[in-house]
């Protein structure tokens, strides 16, 4: 490790840390503002609210029908996590173990939905879903959310599967296991940590996935983040504190899963959608 001890280097380090500090302080203050406001009786023109209350939570709960919204959210997420797990892990296994013509093209096909922002492919996708009548339904929302999550699971799982010794599978084959038995008794236990990590990442990303859900959701298939958007969009109709209470409920939902996810994955994995392609 090289240590620079000149004054300039120290000033530079101080400036860098000050920038980081400024960013983190503003970020945390922003979150604190939402939490404070959700517990405030009246908060106008002062540092802190005039009084504290929890009634915004019960009013937000009934006003925004949060029970229904939460149920829909968890059902959507459950379906997305399950289906992307099944489709993603099987496809990743084939891609990790076999070389066949057209494999590169296929990997590119799975890479594209992760590189292209959801707003760009979401609009044509929503149009197709509206024309088939799927949009606005539960399965329409699930289908739209699966578009980036299936490739995500595939690209996270490929390197994970590649590191498992194929001799183990060969041994299972020798003892007469068919493909299904091989999956259930040999591969699944070995792959569990990787699958768990990939699915937790899918879960965290799906809770916050706004654009795709927004474009295809109908009144009965809104997830929490879309409901929050509409509440903020129509600000003025409801009390600010009520919207903030809903935002806190959303934050808690997300953060609980983030904390669980962070026990199993590296935070950088949430950002880099998959193992970064080497820069060639």
């Amino acid at each position: 490790m090289i240590r620079d001890t000149t004054l300039g280097a120290k000033l530079w380090a101080a400036a860098v840390w000050a920038t980081v500090g400024f960013f983190v302080v503003n970020l945390l203050a922003m979150i604190a503002t939402v939490v404070t406001s959700s517990f405030a009786t009246r908060w106008l023109g002062t540092w802190l609210p005039a009084g504290w209350t929890t009634r915004w939570y019960s009013s937000a709960w009934s006003e925004f029908q949060l029970w229904d919204v939460l149920m829909v959210t968890f059902q959507v997420i459950g379906a997305v996590v399950f289906i992307s797990g099944v489709l993603g892990v099987t496809a990743a296994y084939a891609l990790a173990r076999r070389d066949f013509p057209g494999k590169k093209l296929l990997v590119l096909l799975f890479l594209l939905p992760l590189m292209i922002p959801s707003m760009t492919f979401g609009i044509p996708l929503a149009t197709v879903l509206y024309q088939t009548g799927l949009a606005g339904t539960f399965w329409g929302v699930v289908a739209a959310n699966l578009v980036p999550t299936v490739p995500f699971v595939i690209l996270v799982m490929i390197p994970f599967i590649e590191q498992i010794d194929p001799k183990i599978e060969a041994a299972a084959r020798v003892f007469g296991a068919n493909t299904f038995k091989l999956f259930v008794h040999v591969l699944l236990p070995l792959l569990m940590p990787g699958i768990l990590a990939a699915l937790l990442l899918v879960l965290v990303r799906t809770i916050a996935m706004f654009e795709l859900t927004f474009l295809v959701a109908g009144p009965t298939s809104q997830t929490l983040v879309v409901a929050l958007y509409y509440a903020v969009f129509a600000a003025g109709v409801r009390a600010v504190q009520s919207i903030d209470a809903m935002a806190v409920i959303y934050m808690v939902t997300t953060l609980v899963w983030l904390i669980i996810a962070l026990r199993f994955v590296n935070p950088t994995q949430i950002v880099t959608r998959a193992k970064q392609q080497p820069a060639h």
């Binding site: 490790m1 090289i2 620079d4 860098v16 980081v20 983190v24 503003n26 970020l27 945390l28 203050a29 922003m30 979150i31 503002t33 939402v34 099987t90 496809a91 296994y93 084939a94 076999r98 066949f100 494999k103 296929l106 096909l109 799975f110 939905p113 590189m115 922002p117 959801s118 707003m119 492919f121 609009i123 044509p124 996708l125 929503a126 149009t127 299936v150 595939i154 809770i207 916050a208 706004f210 654009e211 474009l215 958007y229 903020v232 969009f233 919207i243 935002a247 997300t254 953060l255 983030l258 962070l262 590296n266 935070p267 950088t268 949430i270 950002v271 880099t272 970064q276 820069a279 060639h280």
Partner: protein, 303 residues
């Protein structure tokens, strides 16, 4: 199975099944089919459908009329400039901030706390950040209040419902993304290379300029592309924190309005295609310029 029924063909050589297996097609390869079909149905087909639809204007007329309308109506074509005017400065600022910070954080032993804090705005998502910033940066918010207490300003700054609101939200959600990507590239470079340069007497700036920067350039180009593409498709914060009818009427607002408010799916698809083309053009330009820089291993393995 009925392929095997063609007995003569089988007797002459390996069966079709064996020949396919030799090329890599067997039962295991077929496991990729469900995901591939799914991707074709929900990703490729909608794109192709949207592409074709964009040439079939809703009100009839000739095939290019959607695009002609887009490029003749200032309310529509100006969205490209407005979006670029937001996305490019934010992406460059994020990248310029991320590089020195990544170089500093790389030396840290406990990176996890910082990376966890930085991952917060990404997991919370753009909608929550927009909602939080509306309160925080508003005229009564803590940000303006602090500046006024410090005596830096006398009037609250107008930071929401304009360009700067969207800028701030793109900074808060975009910086962590850019930073963590940059960090992964910076840590991928073998520190031995820097030590070698230091041994030969290179100053900190020289080590950065002549050792790290050339090695980092390809990674930075990819980081720029990914961050730019995210910023270019900004939607919720441009509506909630900006002026969706004025300076922050970004291209995704125009597309969503055309498709889902005017029910002109054809026009919506056309705008989405234009959006994709602009993104692609910038990404291709950046990646093409990568060819000007060093390409090769950065792990510095001994020969």
């Amino acid at each position: 199975m009925d392929v095997l029924a063609h007995a003569p063909a089988v007797e002459q050589g390996p069966s079709l099944r064996q020949r396919l297996a030799a090329k890599g097609f067997d039962a295991v390869t077929l496991l990729v089919v469900p995901a591939a079909v799914f991707s074709l149905l929900l990703f490729v087909y909608p794109f192709a459908f949207g592409f074709v639809l964009s040439f079939e204007p809703k009100g009839g007329g000739e095939w290019l009329s959607n695009y002609r309308r887009f490029f003749s109506d200032p309310f529509l074509y100006e969205t490209i400039a407005k979006t670029l005017w937001l996305a490019i400065p934010v992406t460059l600022l994020n990248l310029l901030l991320a590089i020195p910070i990544a170089f500093r954080v790389r030396l840290m032993r406990h990176q996890r706390l910082l990376t966890t804090i930085l991952v917060l705005p990404i997991t919370l998502g753009t909608v929550l950040v927009a909602e939080g910033l509306l309160n925080y940066l508003g005229p009564q918010g803590w940000f303006n209040r602090t500046l006024m207490t410090l005596g830096l300003i006398s009037q609250p700054l107008k930071l929401v419902h304009n360009y700067w609101g969207v800028f701030a939200s793109l900074l808060i959600t975009g910086f962590p993304f850019t930073f963590l990507l940059t960090l992964s590239y910076v840590t991928g470079i073998d520190p031995a290379l820097e030590q070698a340069a230091a041994t030969l007497g290179a100053s900190a700036w020289q080590r950065f300029r002549h050792v790290y920067l050339p090695l980092l350039m390809p990674g930075l180009a990819i980081t720029f592309c990914l961050s730019f593409v995210q910023a270019f498709s900004v939607f919720p914060s441009a509506v909630l924190l900006g002026e969706p009818a004025g300076p922050t009427r970004v291209i995704s607002i125009a597309a969503a309005q055309a498709a889902f408010e005017e029910y002109d799916y054809s026009m919506g698809a056309a705008i989405a295609m234009i959006m994709g083309v602009v993104q692609l053009a910038i990404v291709v330009a950046v990646l093409a310029s990568r060819g000007l820089f060093y390409r090769g291993p950065a792990s510095g393995a001994k020969g």
